[in-house]
Each structure stands twice: as C-alpha cells, then as structure tokens.
Amino acid sequence: MEETIILSMRGITKLFQGVKALQNVDFTLRKGEIHALMGENGAGKSTLIKVLTGVYPMDGGEIRLGGKEQAVTIRSPQEAQRRGISTVYQEINLCPNLSVAENLFIDREPRRFGMIDWKKMNQRSGALLKSLDIGVEPTRQLGDCSIAVQQMIAIARAVDMQCRVLILDEPTSSLDDDEVEKLFQLMRRLKEQGVGIIFVTHFLEQVYAVCDRITVLRNGELVGEYPTAELPRLKLVAKMMGKDFDDLAEIESLKEVKKEHEGETPFLEAEGLSSRYIKPFSLQIHKGEVMGFTGLLGSGRSELVRTVYGADKPVAGTLKLNGRPVRIDAPLNAMMKGMAYLPEDRKRDGIFADLSVRENIIIALQAKRGPFRPMKRKEMQESADRYIDLLQIKTAGREIPVRSLSGGNQQKVVIARWLLTDPEFLILDEPTRGIDIGTKTEIQKLILQLAEKGMSIAFISSEIEEMLRTCSHMVVMRDRQIVGELTGGDLTQDKIMHVIAGGEAENG
C-alpha cells in the first residue's frame, strides 16, 4: 500500500476553562487506511475529532491536509466538509421523514429550471447506492430503513461529496452482528478507493477485524500509534488503561482479608436475570461485601446494576434478597427492599439542578415515605445538615440550588440522598468520575466504612486501581455479559486485564 499521508495533526492542544482536554496530540492518517482511535472515557477522542471537524477551535497545533506544507484552519463543520472531511455520528444526522435520495442530495439537489430535478436525483442516487452495494430504493423513506442502512446512507452521502477523510464515530453501537459485517464491507470498499477512515469504537473485536493502525489516547495525551498487527489485545487494553505490565506496581490493599461467605445465604442472588440491554446473568452478593463490576465502556456494567435496581425492566430470571424471591420492576420497589442506586450520569439521572441541597438530599427518603407523610421542616433540615457535615459537602448553605456546587460536592449530595434512606445494598455507578482526587479518596474510604458496618455494595469504576483498593470480589464484563469473576489472590490488574481483553488470555 502506498504511504500517502492525507491528514496530519501535530501538537494539537485544546483547553476547556484552563483544563487540558488535549495536550500536544499527534495524529496521522494515510490514504486507504482504516485507523482506529482508541481510549477510555475522557481520553480526548471526541475532542480530537471535534477539533478536526471545526466544532471546537484549537488552542495549539497544526492540521495539514493532503500532504501539503500549508497548515489549514478549520472553522466549522461545513468548512471541514468542503475540505473533504466528513463525519458520520452514532446518532444519525439525517432526516427520517425524507426519502433516501433526498437525504443523499439534501442542500445540493440537482436542479432544472430552478426546480429540483427529481428524476435525475433518483437516478444518481440509484447509481451511487449500487456502486457501494447498498441495496435500498432511492425513493424509500429514510425512517423506514434499518439503523444500519441509515448509517450507510450517511456514509454514501459523505462519499459522494468527495470526502477523503471519513470519520466514523461509534457507528456500530446500535448494530447487530450482520449489520456490522455489512458496514465493514463498505468500509473496506472505501478503503480500496483511497479514502482514509478514522474509526472510533469501544469494541476491541471490531478494531482487530478492520483496522490497519491504532492510535491510543489517554487523559488527553497521545499514548502512541501502532500497526494493528503489532499490538495484541492485551497490550491495547493496558495502553488504554494506562498500565504497562513492566511497571505494574503492587497495590497495597486497605481492605481486610476477604471474609468467608461459604454456607451463608447471600444478601442478593440473581439467577438468569436479564433485560433488553443485558444478556442473562447470575450473581451473588453477600452482606458487607464490596462487589466490583469492571469491563470497558459499553460492556454492560451499568445495564447490569440498573436491571437489579429495576431502573431497566427485567424481562427474565429471578432475584432473591436474603433468600426470598422478590419482584422488582421499578426503582421504588427496589428502594422499599433496601436498595439505593447512584447513577452513572450525575447530570442526567442524579441531581435536580434547581432544587436546593436540602431537597436533593431528602427527596429519595420522601419518595419512599409516599406523598401523604411529608417530612417535617425540622427533620429535613437536620437530615441535610447531618450529611453536609458527615460528608463534608462544601456548600454556602443547605437552601442554595445544588447546581451551584462543584461536581464533587454534587456527587456527595447524591450519596447523602441515598445514605439517608439507610439502604442495605448500595449501588455506586462511577461515583468518582470527574471529581477531584481528595473527594475520590474520601468516597473510597466511605465505601469501606459502609461495608464494615454490613452494607453490601456494588461498585463500578473505570479506574481499576480504585476498585482493587476497595473491592473484595470482582465481576468482569464484556459484550453485555459476565465473562469472569475474580476474588482473593486473583484480584490483580494483570488478571483483570486478561479477562477484559478476552480471547486466549481468558483462561490464563
């Protein structure tokens, strides 16, 4: 393959309010290459793409196109498109109420006497679809096509606009296996035509199925660029998570030696439980146990705990609490049974931005008590003050809106909310994401203290180190199912990464 560089980004830096989202990142794309852009959440993948497509202005660095010496400035997505850079997002940015042909030619319809030349448009669409082997009628309404076809049409549109750089941002997350394979065929075809493709995905299998090269980012910095053949899965996972096997430091665990739970009735026992978003799983959690759930993003960690909590409706399987079967199909059921759930997305599912700190703290307890037993003002104030004090929530007062607090303190408010309901089982989904180091350590300590007192805890975090420090038992997930369980001496970064990476390493 000829090594013509069609895109070269050098020293890209992007700041958000003084925080470096990208720091001195290089990225190179060659002609006819499928190049995976990998990294965990917050690594800077989407920021890099948004800088490239002109959504964000960059704060430093240079972008060169087509091997030219001259650096270019891309000010808007439209300009990026004019320069031959097209993006297809996970959520499709087309019009479902228009026909396939209209979508392909929107904003650049062939015209005749000032009117849209429908015949020509449909003909050209037909030819284009055929050349890319997409079997769909140009006159069909886009909304009637499957998501996969819609995505391919978005790609076809980009191709027809003479794009040289095609960015696919998580195109496969909503596709099934067959559809993914079709998409890959299309990608390979484009590759033969000399298009450079930047492929963003979380699925390792897919990277190894189609990509020629992998660039890994972590915490806004470039880790490196590797030919796919030279970077085995395990190494890739290690690069993404920021641990090299050579310098894997032994982590000293704060937690006690694992207690034996043999013969005890588990606090929670799931048998073949599943929802629309997760394959059947079985699980046991004991009293006073901190159970960790790990796996890459999209592996089903959150979906699993949401199913246990009833936030996603279970469709099959059974759940037992203290040995008794229970039916939980809504969060309130779960709360009544002593569960509490701190959701992953604090803004979307956690805080009530305009309500006060006090209201945010008491709302779960109040929901549990029902509408006809309102808490007395004094009780609310005391509860709020107690937890503001206990968790050291930094706030100008309990009556100010929670949105004026920092992210870490908002998170503490949500934790306070659940602790106030005095749960037996606390689910923490990424409780430490995006909050400062000090608060992180406080939350980790709190988890251990709560477990000490007999609370069972399910803990999800993207930081393996943090989980090793707190969990006595870990479940590893991949492709929306449990692929391994580790405990005791097996709880090492090394082992966990092996299981996450899967393949032959799984049994090792």
Partner: protein, 368 residues
C-alpha cells in the same frame, strides 16, 4: 473605629436588604402588579375608592378582585401542569364550558329554561366537577402516559370541548333562573363581598394546605426539573403528571361553575372563552417557567390579578373589547421583557453599580 466603618456596615446591611427584596421570587410579579395599579390610579383617581352601594361593596378594585376569581382558580391548575409537564393545558376554557353545560342541564332537567331546580343542586355540581376531572384525566393520559406534547394533547379538548358542551345543552343556552343558583357568581344574601372572591381565596387556601400536608410541591418540581432522576429516586412521573392534569381539569370545572352562576346559564360558546391564554400568561407573569420545574403559586395568583387589573383599566379607558387584545399585548410584551434573563442581567449589574463591593464582583475593578 471611625464612623466610616459603622456607616459602611450600615450601608452594606441596607444593601443586603435591598438585594434580598429584589432577589425574592415574587419581586417582579409584585412590581408588575404595582405598575398596573399605579397606572389605574393615575387614569382613574377613584380606583381604590370602595363604597357600599345597596348593601354590597362597590368600586373598581372590588370589581378587579371579583372578576379575577375564575382566572386565579385556572392559574393555580395551570401552574401545577406547567411545572410537572413543562407544557400547558389549553383546554381549560373549553372545560369550563363543559362543566357549566353539565350543571345547568341537570338543574333544568333538559329544558331550555327553568324557574326551579329539577334535580338537587349538589348532584348537578358534583356531576359537573366529575366531568371536568374526567376531562383533566383524559388530558393527563395523553400527556403523561402517551407522552404527547401537552399543547397538542390538550388541543383536542380545546377544539372539541365546546362542541361537547353544545351537545349537552342541545345547542341552546340553558338558563337556570333560580336565585340560589346566582349566589356563586353574585352575593350571599347579607354579605357585601362578592362570592367568587371567596371561591378564589378558598381554592388558593385549599391548594396551599394540600401542598403543606402532602409532598405535592416537591414531587411536581422534581418531575418537572428532571424526570429521569425522579424515576431513579422512586417517583412515578407518569402518575404525578397525571394528577396535576386532573387537578387542573377539576379547577377548570370550579371556574366554569362560577362563570355559569354569574350569568345563571350555560353559554357553551362564551364561557371561559380565551381564558386559557390569560391563565398561561398569569403563570408566566408570576415568574414561573413555562418549561417546568420550580414554581410559585402565589406568583401565578398575583399574575392573575395583574391581568384582570389590566383588563379593567383598559375597559375604564373606554377601549372596546375587540381592541383590547392589542393593548394587552403591548403591556404583556413589556412585562415579559422585564422578566427576561437578559434584562435581569442588566438589572443585576445595575444593582452591583448601585452598591459596589457588597458582593463578589467577577469583573476586575480598573485601578485608578
């Protein structure tokens, strides 16, 4: 210590009081009301004069408070609906007509006009309220369960409601010419205060009590601000939104009965006509976000009185009823601009300038 320090302390206390007042959520609604009232006094100097005429209170201000009653009651329901669902119920005017039709039809026993109750009054009132609550429930199902946009969902009854009322009264204006039927819209014998005022005050008090003894406010605000988070903490957002629509329908029914009592008839075409728009406006004037979330009932009540005061003023200025909307619109534009976030920003920076240094200013002061 010099007196300067003391003075400064006093100044800052005064400033913080000034700030506390201007920052209160009812500040703007009250200012709007005050401005409208002031205009009234200038235009009609005897605006606040209340006299007793024929055993009842008489005067512009009494008239405003009396006439605003239906609007106050509607505005309360509208506030709850807006807060919980981030949308408005535009069918309340039509539901008023339905309630009036049902009530009058039962009382007249199907006749066009009646001089005596054909059925017990209590039965007619309960039936009317039940029907209006059902209308609210219908809207509630469409919005809360089927997730139809509130404006679209309530458009159904907005258009069909008056038709239903016509069907009930067989296309006639049904008259109930019984003295006791006129009480709700007129006067209780021996009482100088118009009865609608009691209804409005009673409704406000009742809803306030409900909010005190249940968690309605917290639940409604929670669902309105973040329905996804509300679900996670165990709130049933479908049920909560549904309940607000039922309450809104029920209150529209109460307002419909008062309006019907005023004219001792059920006029399906005119009862509550365009009142839904005034009710929505009252909510907005009260400083409530039409997109849902935190709400203030008192704000909406003040908003309702403001609108009625405005209408009365315009009538007093001899503006004909068909030109009324134009003048109303002008005033509304001014009030809405005053409440806009951008204007508030200017106002805040103006406040900072007036009392610099008493709060943390983000802007660096230029060194002199």
């Amino acid at each position: 210590m010099s007196s300067r320090g003391v003075k400064r302390k006093m100044a800052s206390q005064k400033a913080s009081l000034f700030k506390r007042i201007t920052k209160h959520h009812l500040f703007f609604p009250l200012v709007c009301l005050a401005v409208v009232l002031l205009a009234n006094v200038i235009k009609t100097p005897d605006f606040f004069v209340v006299s007793i005429n024929g055993g009842v209170l008489y005067g512009y201000v009494v008239d405003v408070v009396n006439r605003a009653s239906e609007l106050v009651i509607l505005a309360i329901g509208m506030t709850l609906v807006s807060a919980a669902s981030g949308g408005q119920d535009i069918s309340v005017g039509a539901v008023m007509a339905v309630a009036a039709a049902v009530c009058c039809e039962i009382l007249s026993g199907g006749a066009v006009s009646t001089g005596a109750f054909q059925n017990p009054l209590i039965l007619a009132v309960l039936a009317a309220l039940l029907v209006s609550a059902l209308c609210g429930a219908f809207n509630g199902v469409l919005v809360a369960r089927l997730k139809i946009q509130p404006m679209v969902a309530t458009l159904i009854l907005f258009t069909a409601g008056r038709g239903i009322a016509q069907l009930v009264t067989k296309g006639q204006i049904t008259y109930v010419r019984v003295e006791s039927y006129k009480i709700a819209g007129g006067y209780i014998p021996g009482c100088p205060i118009p009865t609608p005022i009691f209804f409005a005050a009673g409704t406000v008090a009742l809803v306030m009590l409900v909010m005190k003894f249940t968690t309605l406010k917290l639940y409604v605000e929670g669902v309105g601000i973040n329905s996804s988070a509300a679900r996670i903490v165990g709130l049933n957002s479908v049920r909560i939104q549904f309940v607000t629509y039922v309450i809104c329908g029920l209150l529209a029914g109460v307002a419909g009965l008062i309006a019907s009592s005023r004219i001792y008839s059920a006029d399906a075409n005119n009862i509550g006509l365009y009142l839904e728009m005034d009710a929505i406006l009252a909510v907005a004037l009260g400083g409530n976000l039409l997109s849902g979330g935190k709400f203030s009932l008192m704000g909406s009540v003040i908003g309702a009185y403001t609108i009625q005061a405005l209408t009365t003023t315009l009538y007093a200025m001899n503006i004909s009823s068909d030109q009324l909307p134009v003048y109303k619109a002008v005033v509304v534009v001014i009030i809405v601009v005053l409440q806009s976030p951008k204007f508030n920003q200017y106002f805040r920076s103006f406040r900072e300038k007036l009392h610099p240094g008493n709060s943390v200013s983000r802007k660096e002061e230029p060194s002199s």
